[in-house]
């Protein structure tokens, strides 16, 4: 990990339906810096604006006030330059495309040649440990496998940033823990910066370098918790440091609830 800034969020407000009766202040006065290669989780009760914050970074939404910079340029420019890949809660694969064609979709849009595309999609299938599933259709795969394909698709053009919106939220507990290990391995192999939205305390503690706890209505940064677990493995889940980190996050979330 180096000290270069990947994402810089400066006094950002996000208001939906501004100046109307159903106006909602989703985020208020957010300041956050994320360094290159960092794994940062956003956690908070529902309605705290964590998905909104992720979409501001991805320029899928625009801030009402303040600025979002990604790799030293505007979030908009970063999107146009394809500096990030995105993974959603539901894999969002295209049913009518084979798994390999799904992974190749962004490459296709960027005008890659067919040969380069298929080389890369095979590399990606190896990376997510589905080497033999390229010719399958998404519906033939389990939820966990679909989500791996979706990660492969997001990483296929080797973006420097990965934005993940509760990517394991729809998976069962065992698959989920397995996917967390896989994600950490991929993160280490690729050196990608990851911003990860979750509402699972153990998940955020297990995965992240830093956990950003948000409080709702309006969404604000309540606290930022550093987590240092060294290199994680399955045994980390029984580690006392892991429990300590989870407890710290839990207490922050309790404090958020009491605030309300």
């Amino acid at each position: 990990m180096n000290e270069k800034s990947a994402i810089s969020i400066n006094s950002v407000d996000k208001v939906f339906n501004e100046a109307r009766e159903d106006e909602v202040i989703a985020l208020s006065n957010i300041d956050l810096d994320i360094k290159e290669g960092e794994f940062v989780s956003l956690i908070g009760p529902s309605g705290c604006g964590k998905s909104t914050l992720l979409r501001l970074i991805g320029d899928l939404l625009e801030p009402t006030k303040g600025s979002v910079e990604v790799f030293g340029k505007s979030a908009h420019q970063a999107r146009v330059d394809q500096d990030y890949g995105m993974v959603f809660q539901h894999a969002g694969l295209f049913d009518w495309r084979r798994v390999s064609a799904n992974i190749e979709l962004p490459l296709e849009l960027h005008g890659w040649s067919k040969a380069d595309r298929s080389t890369r999609s095979q590399e990606m299938l190896d990376l997510v440990k589905l080497p033999d599933f390229g010719s399958y259709y998404p519906r033939q795969l389990s939820g966990g496998m679909q989500q791996r394909v979706s990660i492969a698709r997001a990483l296929s053009f080797k973006p420097k940033l990965l934005l993940m919106d509760e990517p394991f939220g729809a998976l069962d507990e065992m698959t989920r823990e397995h996917m967390q290990i896989e994600l950490l391995r991929i993160w280490e192999e690729t050196g990608t910066t990851v911003v990860f939205v979750t509402h699972s305390i153990p998940e955020s503690a297990f995965l992240s370098n830093r956990v950003v706890v948000l409080s709702p209505r309006p969404g604000q940064v309540h606290s930022v918790i550093d987590v240092d677990l060294g290199k994680r493995s399955e045994s980390t889940r029984q580690d006392s440091n892991f429990f300590a980190a989870a407890t710290e996050i839990r207490e922050a979330l309790r404090a958020v609830e009491e605030q309300e």
Binding site: R55, G58, L60, R79, V80, Q82, Y84, G85, M86, F88, Q89, H90, G92, F94, D95, W96, R97, R98, L105, P106, E108, L109, Y137, R139, Q140
Partner: protein
């Protein structure tokens, strides 16, 4: 697997046809026995069973081979019907293709701009409340004024029926991708056009094909109604109209021409089914 399925379909169709023929002949036989009354009652049957109202099925089929005068030439009835059906098919095909083009264009326009959906959709719905029969003479008068052939005018009447299901279902289909799919394309900085071709149109297929089957049948309805209402000299509609007028003499011929229309409908339906199989072959592989 595939041949087994084909045999099953053919068998099902054969069984249904046999059943309908037996129902027809059974009802007729019963009516003849009871002098058109429900057995053991004084209640009359809703449809008389004499040979004029309900000719024997065999006679209808035999009539298909009878010689018919068409202008100066003479030909068997089935050839005559085929010839007439060809005209109707042309009208319906042009109507269908125009309807598909206009319907899809409207759907794409409406999915592109919310304003155009709000502005157009009510009018598209209202358009179908105008009775086709009332509209047909207007279209023809207008067409003749413009120097269009009756073929084109009838096609336009057919278009009027076909564009509607395509526009409405097309719009639903284009709007069917969920927000994650749309956000994904947005995250790739994909243009509206790219999103249309890579996401919206492929996703619209399952919505579109049922509508196209309906549009296919409607295109023939439109063509036949068009022929009848503007008095075109040829086509299945014309044949049906003439045999309806001469019903008392040749009841079999009216039924024969109606069977001809039904077959034309089946043909169009089959063609659209084939297109669906082709365009949705990938999705089908998974479903089975």
């Amino acid at each position: 697997m595939k041949t087994a399925k084909a045999i099953r379909v053919i068998l099902t169709v054969a069984v249904v046809i046999v059943f309908l023929v037996l129902l027809w002949e059974g009802y007729k036989w019963m009516g003849q026995k009871t002098d058109d009354h429900w057995p053991g009652t004084n209640f009359g049957l809703p449809i008389a069973t004499n040979d004029t109202i309900m000719p024997h099925f065999v006679d209808v089929i035999t009539e298909l081979n009878a010689d018919i005068r068409d202008g100066r030439s003479t030909m068997p009835m089935y050839a005559f019907l085929l010839k007439k059906a060809w005209f109707t098919f042309q009208e319906a095909a042009i109507g269908f293709i125009l309807g598909l083009t206009i319907g899809m264009s409207l759907a794409i326009l409406m999915s592109r701009w919310k304003v155009s959906e709000r502005g157009l959709l009510p009018w598209i719905n209202v358009s179908q409340t105008i009775p086709l029969i009332a509209l047909a003479p207007v279209v023809v008068t207008w067409g003749r004024n413009q120097g269009l052939s009756d073929l084109i005018s009838i096609s336009l009447i057919s278009t009027y029926l076909t564009f509607f299901p395509v526009a409405v279902s097309g719009l639903r289909g284009l709007q069917s991708p969920d927000s994650a799919h749309v956000e994904l394309m947005h995250s790739y900085a994909a243009s509206w056009r790219t999103t249309l071709f890579k996401l919206r149109l492929p996703a619209a297929r399952p919505f579109l094909f049922p509508a196209l089957k309906l549009a296919g049948s409607l295109s023939i309805v439109g063509a036949i109604v068009g022929e009848i209402s503007i008095g075109r000299k040829t086509g299945l509609g014309r044949a049906i109209l003439e045999y309806a007028l001469r019903y008392a003499i040749f009841p079999e011929r009216l039924y024969a021409s109606v069977i001809g229309a039904a077959f034309l409908g089946l043909l169009v339906f089959g063609m659209i089914n084939l297109a669906e199989r082709y365009f949705m072959r990938r999705t089908r592989e998974v479903a089975s």
